[in-house]
């Protein structure tokens, strides 16, 4: 195999604690190959991407291992030689293009700077520039080149950064979540562009992401990273269709596949921090099939199939099979709404100043039902939710619970009305006061919303915590002592303290890892079934909707373009726009097909 880039036994550790962020990782990439590296937050995937470019972030140090690139060992090079390679032979595409581009320089000047690095370039700079812009699908007229980064859309900015990364036809590119934060349609086109560029320039690429579905769309091979170690690596289709490592299996079971009614299975517990890693296999404390050996020794590499490597003691036993992809459907589980009540939104048109951000939106939610409101960024879905809870009062139309119309602003609504309609925010860490314990926060909500005795407050808090599956010992903790999933549970518990009839959830899983997302989604479904809670679930993630909602409204540019039951919408979308985002959403739907057959 003609390896272009290879990393052997590399470890990266924290200088302060000595804990290893990356543990003894070896990877090899062939010419033109795209290796997808999947890992949840804290797995060390970004650190690994940078370490492959022989760079360590502040506070970290390399501990053993080598990287060789296009035949030269990076360890033997001095700083000057390394910097000659960077931008030319090895390049990097970061997550946020807005921060990667110099805001004070025109786009054209920034791209030309990189082209000038290429000494093998026979064509003139301008020829290469127009060729490059064509390759990344950007206009190459001079007006465009004279723009500044802030005058471009997020997708265009990322194309510029990608153009710069591929300008010198590098041997090796590291892309660190380049499409996170972009809409699915834009994401799909950027993935296609990256794939084309790798093929035409023969560059090997390491594509780092948290999103398995993206890897399915772009990578030739995929490596799964857990707590600083590769646990499984092999050809993409093989790994995704027939995963061997229990972590890979659990992760896949947590990814929504745009199948109406499918259930997601989360992974219990949380990934260990580098300095609190258990002995033996780092995953054994969360693993359903672990045995004594897993806690004792680090698993050895095994090769169950051709080109596949797995680090799991039980890989050869084949026991890891049958990690459940639960089949109970949300539709079957749906209990009749045992408490009457309907939240209805009628002809809602909301304004920011004179601009209508939302036009003529109508829908209703019954108790015990989850309705999803789906749209890309800027579609007005958050504005709708803010109107419903009374945080945005500049609107016409009506919002009513049963027949009782609610005043526009939260301040004018009665305590009873505020009690029955609660809101959960996107980022739990922004929505919880970092200076108050969980108990203080919950008590405060109970006090403001309910006029009870101290004993009743205590009871309410205990019930709310129990419903979200947290123990009472968390009451004395501060939010920063909890994991992201636990923080979001606390935020949901806070909303449940007043025993509301309806819950408005605004992108509540988008800041969470997929394995955690699945547990939060299951929690919501259970709450609806058991307590008759009605939920408005706002999201940009269409595949996820299949696992959550009974009905879906799709929003575009401030209007609802299609509203249907989840089954109908996924099987027979009527609007072209719905069809398009269904197609563009990266998904593992082929897995669902495999399982069903």
């Amino acid at each position: 195999m003609n390896a272009v880039a290879s990393m052997q036994g590399l470890s990266v550790a924290s200088i302060a604690t000595g804990a290893e962020i990356i543990r003894n990782v070896s990877l090899t990439l062939a010419r033109g190959e795209i290796l997808g590296l999947v890992g949840e937050s804290g797995s060390g995937k970004s650190t690994l991407g940078l370490a492959f470019l022989w760079h360590t972030q502040k506070g970290l140090m390399r501990r053993g291992g080598t990287v060789s690139l296009a035949g030269s060992a990076l360890a033997t090079l001095d700083a000057k030689a390394l910097s000659r390679l960077r931008g030319r032979v090895m390049t990097y595409v970061p997550q946020d293009p807005a921060r990667a581009l110099n805001p004070a320089l025109r786009i054209g000047a920034q791209i030309r700077d990189v082209i000038a690095l290429d000494r093998n370039n026979t064509a003139t700079g301008d020829q290469r520039l127009s060729e490059l812009l064509g390759e990344v699908d950007l206009p190459h007229d001079s007006a465009f080149l004279r723009r500044y980064p802030h005058e471009l859309s997020g997708g265009q900015q990322q194309r510029v950064v990608i153009a710069m990364a591929f300008a010198c036809r590098p041997a090796f590119v590291v892309l660190d979540e380049p499409t996170t934060g972009l809409d699915v349609t834009v994401q799909k086109r950027i993935l296609a562009t990256v794939k084309d560029l790798c093929r035409t320039s023969g560059s090997a690429a390491l594509y780092v992401t948290h999103d398995i579905a993206v890897v399915a769309a772009i990578a030739d091979r995929v490596g799964v990273l857990y707590s600083g170690s590769i646990v499984e690596i092999g050809p993409t289709a093989g790994v995704l269709r027939a995963p061997v490592h229990p972590y890979t299996r659990s992760l896949l079971a947590a990814v929504p596949t745009a199948t109406p009614g499918e259930s997601l299975a989360g992974i219990p517990g949380r990934a260990p921090l580098p300095d609190q890693r258990p002995s033996g296999c780092a995953f054994h404390t969360r693993c359903a099939v672990s045995e004594a050996r897993c806690a004792g020794e680090l698993p050895q590499r095994s090769t169950p199939t051709h080109e596949r490597s797995v680090w799991c003691w039980r890989a050869e036993d084949g026991v890891a099979a049958n990690v459940p992809r639960a089949s109970a459907s949300v539709h079957e589980r749906r209990a009749p709404a045992h408490r009457a009540g309907v939240l209805s939104v009628n002809a809602l048109t909301a304004y920011y100043g004179a601009v209508a951000a939302v036009r003529d939106v109508s829908f209703s939610i019954a108790r015990g039902e989850i309705m999803a409101l789906v749209g890309e960024s800027g579609s007005g879905k958050t504005t709708v939710s803010r109107c419903v809870v009374g945080a945005h009062s500049a609107y016409v139309g009506s919002i009513a619970i049963d027949a009782e119309e609610l005043p526009h602003s939260a301040g004018k609504r009665s305590t009873l009305q505020r009690r029955s309609l609660q809101y959960v925010f996107q980022n739990p860490y922004a929505a919880l006061n970092p200076r108050r314990t969980i108990g203080q926060t919950l008590l405060q909500w109970a006090r403001v919303l309910c006029d009870d005795t101290a004993a009743e407050y205590k009871q309410r808090i205990a019930t709310a915590l129990e419903r979200v599956g947290l123990e009472t010992r968390y009451l004395g903790r501060y939010p920063d002592e909890l994991s992201g999933g636990q923080q979001q549970r606390v935020a949901i518990a806070r909303a449940l303290v007043s025993d509301p009839a309806f819950l408005i959830c605004d992108e509540i899983t988008s800041a969470l890892d997929v394995s955690v997302q699945a547990t939060v989604i299951n929690l919501l479904s259970t709450l609806c079934r058991d307590t008759g809670l009605g939920v408005l679930f706002i999201t940009h993630n269409l595949p996820l909707v299949g696992s959550v909602a009974q009905r879906v409204a799709v929003m575009r540019a401030g209007r609802v373009v299609e509203c249907a039951s989840t089954v109908d919408l996924f099987r027979h979308p009527r609007e072209a726009y719905t069809m398009q985002i269904l197609q563009d959403s990266p998904s593992l739907s082929f897995l669902g097909t495999v399982n069903r057959e």
Binding site: S41, G42, L273, Q276, V389, G390, A391, A410, G411, R413, T415, R418, Q422, Y423, F425, Q426, N427, Y429, A430, A431, L432, N433, P434, R435, R436, T437, G439, Q440, Q444, W445, V448, L449, R473, L475, G476, R477, Y478, P479, D480, E481, L482, S483, G484, Q487, R494, S498
Partner: protein, 303 residues
């Protein structure tokens, strides 16, 4: 001296103790106490505060008695020699810090306290009125602090309450701006919006949601303004508008003995060193608190 801070009981962060929850402020201080710069800063600050507070009790002779020849060299009985009138430098030094602290501490507390009240109110109830008020404060801010103080003191005479008042007034606009900036970030955060949406009274939002989240910046501001207070008051003392002779005072000592700086420097040097050490110490403490505040916020996001 640093070993005792490593006791397990003091380690707060990821330890997940199930013990009684600590108040947010106690948690901040406990975490800061583990930083070396906090320990050093606290040691320096306490050293000078101790000297200033307990010094008068330990002074070997009266600070106003003439005990030696003017500018007498250090000797066994007078370890730092005598000042320009032949008084014991060491005794005057030990007695001269208290007045400085008695004026700078209340001045800082009043100035920063008013600034906090005004700043947080302006951030929470943002309107054209509060904005107009902020611009008025900018005018005050443009006025040099020492000149402002001198103006009042020359008209009304060097009285302690007046010194406290003018120094507090000098701090007020700056503290208002800093705390308004800090609180403006907080009032935009989701947890404040969440509290507003459920109809929590504004006063509760102010005290329970906003105030605890600016406590870090508040402590930093207090530390910083305290060192500025010492600077202004020592400067006024040096200019002769602080405590009047023959009373001992660090600022006054510097100005009285400056002529002998080359051959009997102790009368000038001792108060200068004390003020410098106190300033550095308080700044280190303030810096440690600032770092810990930032760290707690950062931990929230990576959880």
């Amino acid at each position: 001296m640093h070993t005792e801070t490593q006791k397990p009981g003091l380690i707060v962060s990821a330890g997940h103790s199930d013990a009684e929850p600590r108040s947010a402020l106690a948690r901040l201080l406990l975490e800061a106490a583990r930083l070396r710069r906090f320990q050093i800063g606290m040691a320096l600050t306490l050293l000078i505060l101790g000297l200033a507070l307990l010094g008068p009790l330990a002074a070997p002779s009266s600070p106003t008695a003439f005990v030696a020849t003017p500018f007498a060299m250090p000797s066994l009985s007078f370890p730092f020699g005598a000042d320009y009138l032949g008084r014991d430098v060491w005794s005057r030094f030990l007695c001269g810090g208290l007045s400085l602290l008695l004026i700078s501490m209340p001045a800082t507390l009043i100035g920063v306290g008013l600034g906090m009240a005004a700043g947080i109110t302006a951030a929470m109830f943002k309107s054209s009125w509060t904005e107009a008020g902020m611009r008025l404060l900018d005018v005050l801010l443009a006025f040099p602090q020492v000149v402002l103080a001198l103006l009042f003191v020359t008209i009304l005479g060097p009285r302690p309450w007046l010194l406290i008042g003018v120094v507090a007034l000098a701090h007020f606009p700056q503290s208002t701006r800093v705390l308004k900036g800090a609180a403006s970030d907080i009032v935009e955060r989701d947890f404040v919006k969440a509290a507003q949406v459920i109809g929590m009274p504004q006063s509760r939002i102010l005290f329970d949601e906003v105030l605890p989240n600016v406590s870090g910046q508040l402590l930093v501001e207090l530390g910083l303004r305290f060192t500025y207070s010492i600077g202004i008051i020592a400067a006024l003392g040096f200019l002769g508008f602080g405590r009047q002779p023959p009373n001992p005072d660090w600022g006054l000592m510097i100005s009285e003995n400056k002529v002998a700086l080359l051959f009997q420097p102790w009368g000038t040097l001792l108060p200068v060193i004390a003020i410098a050490v106190l300033t550095v110490g308080v700044n280190l403490v303030a810096d440690a608190l600032g770092r810990v505040t930032a760290r707690i916020s950062a931990r929230m996001e990576q959880a």
